[in-house]
């Protein structure tokens, strides 16, 4: 009977199981390693997949010996500022491009979309210099402003495709009722686009939380470092001495995105693919 089961039936199941193991293995491994005592870790890697005890001392040491809490706070502040500013700039811009259709709005859209093709590296030195010139290197703005600039194209792209779906009649009804351009945008278009806004917020959050290049280049002061940069320094600093704390720090850094992902998994997958596929 078993032999008669068709290849077409069990091959996909086998593949799915193999891929599942590969995709979750690194996270499972690091979580499990972070929960083991230094003595167990010293015995070698073989028993690291299933911790023999739940030991939280690594986490205590990670928080005590490094400004991990501070990094968490910095990452949060930077994410909030960046997302807020991106939405504040992108929503009206996309609304104007898609609904107000002023002369040249197509050109403006294509100009923004050009940004999707530009690698961030080309802007590093000029931004580094201008931040110094403006005296805001080593402030939250030093990563917020560059990130907003580079996030705008995707946000505007997603907002324009969303606004396209809102019928003009709805907005015109508001303006016939006497609402001005700003009023129509603020009290009709913005509430309608809440779904698009959540998608953009979620997409941006994952991206900004994980961002490394800008933060590593523009923030040299220890007090301002974000989690990815802090983690990188922590590992090169502590990694050779305290492996347990290193694993714990890695887990702490990925926990916020994973927690968000557990709640909003479908939306995150959809927004990341929508943000990725822009034709």
């Amino acid at each position: 009977m078993l032999a008669r089961l068709k290849l077409a039936t069990w091959l996909p199941i086998l593949l799915v199981i193999i891929f599942l193991i590969i995709q979750v293995f690194p996270i499972v491994w690091v979580v499990s390693a972070s929960l083991q005592t230094p003595e167990a870790l010293a015995r070698g890697p073989s028993n690291r997949l299933i911790p023999d005890s739940l030991y939280f001392g690594n986490y205590v040491r990670a928080f005590e010996t490094s400004p991990l809490l501070h990094y968490l706070l910095n990452s949060t502040i930077i994410a909030v500022l960046t997302i807020g500013l991106t939405i504040l700039l992108a929503a009206p811009a996309a609304y104007a491009i898609e609904k107000l259709r002023f002369g040249g709005s197509r050109v403006v859209l294509n100009y923004f979309l050009l940004g999707l093709m530009i690698p961030v590296f080309v802007a590093l030195l000029p931004i580094f210099q201008s931040l110094g010139f403006l005296g805001i290197r080593n402030s939250y703005w030093a990563v917020v402003l560059p990130q907003v600039g580079f996030q705008l194209p995707v946000a505007i792209y997603l907002y324009t495709s969303f606004f396209r779906g809102i019928p003009n009649e709805l907005l015109e009804a508001a303006s016939i009722d006497g609402a001005g351009v700003f009023r129509t945008f603020w009290s009709v278009a913005v509430p309608l686009s809440i779904n698009a806004t959540i998608t953009i917020v979620v997409y941006n959050f994952i991206f900004i939380w994980n961002e490394f290049v800008f933060a590593n280049t523009f923030l040299t002061s220890d007090a301002l470092k974000t989690l990815p940069v802090g983690l990188n320094d922590f590992v090169s600093d502590m990694g050779r001495r305290d492996y347990g704390a290193t694993y714990a720090a890695i887990v702490v850094s990925v926990l916020p995105t994973i927690a968000l992902y557990l709640f909003l998994n479908r939306r995150i997958i959809d927004s990341m693919t929508a943000g990725a596929v822009r034709g």
């Binding site: 979750v24 070698g44 693919t273």
Partner: protein, 297 residues
């Protein structure tokens, strides 16, 4: 054009709405390109005065063995990385649509590496591949009786490029899985049912019907994956820093070091401009190739 415009909206209102975004985007993305180009035409280390040298920086790239090595590495990184992401992404998507249950939870689990930071992924793999203390992979090799293969993997210059390429592809392949999966599940079931009635087996259905039907999605993904790998930076930078030697150096990591470690601003800017042109050019070529196949095919 006119008929889409909302009733009675003055043109200045539109410009007012886009102006803040336009200014921000221009200041952060567009002006720096011009600025970098200007810097690339001179010699400057941040202390002395900027001195115009013309195209010397670009000519120097031709003779720079490290740059040439980085370029060769980058070709490998982009080509192999793109291939892994597309093939694995597609295999994941196809196997997912072939199972009846648990599709959503499997998809969510597949996607996990894509939401984790490159730094965390890199650090995890550095630990897994480590030799002192013995990391998981070396431990596995030893307990499987393959002890002669245990080694400090990230010190082996003939493996580092392959390792950073694979880890980078590993992080991003689930994005292509998700793209292909949603394209595959949105296919018209009638077409597939008709094919099945005509006696097409699973493999024939896949290669003769499903894949041709999602060809536009595949083409868009190729553009996406190639332009993504051309900008690869985080994972090689964190895992190996481009080393040992130049064994895993990419154009982007070399540019970063030239700018921020050697303070060679003119030459670094020239490499940055090279990267932009390379990205734009290769994406344009791929697009052209795909639109050509669409016309003939």
């Amino acid at each position: 054009m006119r008929k889409n415009q909302l009733l009675g909206t003055p043109s200045w209102a539109g410009w007012l709405f886009v102006a803040p975004a336009l200014i921000m985007f221009t200041a952060v993305v567009i002006i720096p390109i011009a600025w970098s180009f200007y810097l690339s035409l001179g010699a400057w280390n941040g202390l002395s005065k900027w001195r115009f040298t013309g195209g010397v920086n670009y000519l120097n790239m031709l003779d720079d063995t490290v740059f040439r090595q980085a370029l060769v590495n980058n070709v490998f990184f982009s080509l192999v990385g793109s291939l892994i992401q597309l093939v694995i992404g597609m295999t994941m998507a196809v196997s997912l649509i072939s199972i009846a249950k648990f599709r959503n939870i499997v998809r969510v689990a597949y996607f996990l590496p894509a939401v984790i930071s490159s730094v965390a992924i890199s650090q995890i793999f550095v630990q897994l591949l480590s030799a002192d203390p013995e990391g998981f992979i070396n431990g596995m090799l030893r307990s499987m009786g393959l002890g002669e293969n245990t080694q400090p993997f990230l010190s082996n210059t003939s493996l580092t490029l392959l390792i950073v390429t694979t880890v980078d592809a590993y992080k991003f392949c689930a994005i292509y899985m998700a793209i292909f999966y949603s394209a595959l599940v949105s296919l018209d079931q009638d077409v597939l049912a008709a094919a099945e009635m005509d006696g097409a087996n699973r493999l024939q259905q896949l290669f003769l019907i499903r894949l041709p039907l999602i060809w536009a999605t595949i083409a868009a993904s190729v553009v996406l994956v190639v332009s993504g790998t051309l900008r690869g930076f985080d994972i090689p930078f964190v895992m190996t820093g481009g080393g040992p030697g130049t064994s895993s150096e990419l154009v982007s990591t070399y540019m970063y070091k030239t700018l921020f470690r050697q303070s060679n601003f003119g030459y670094g800017s020239a490499i940055a401009i090279f990267l932009v042109i390379e990205c734009l050019l290769i994406v344009a070529i791929i697009r052209k190739a795909f639109s050509a196949t669409e016309k003939t095919g």
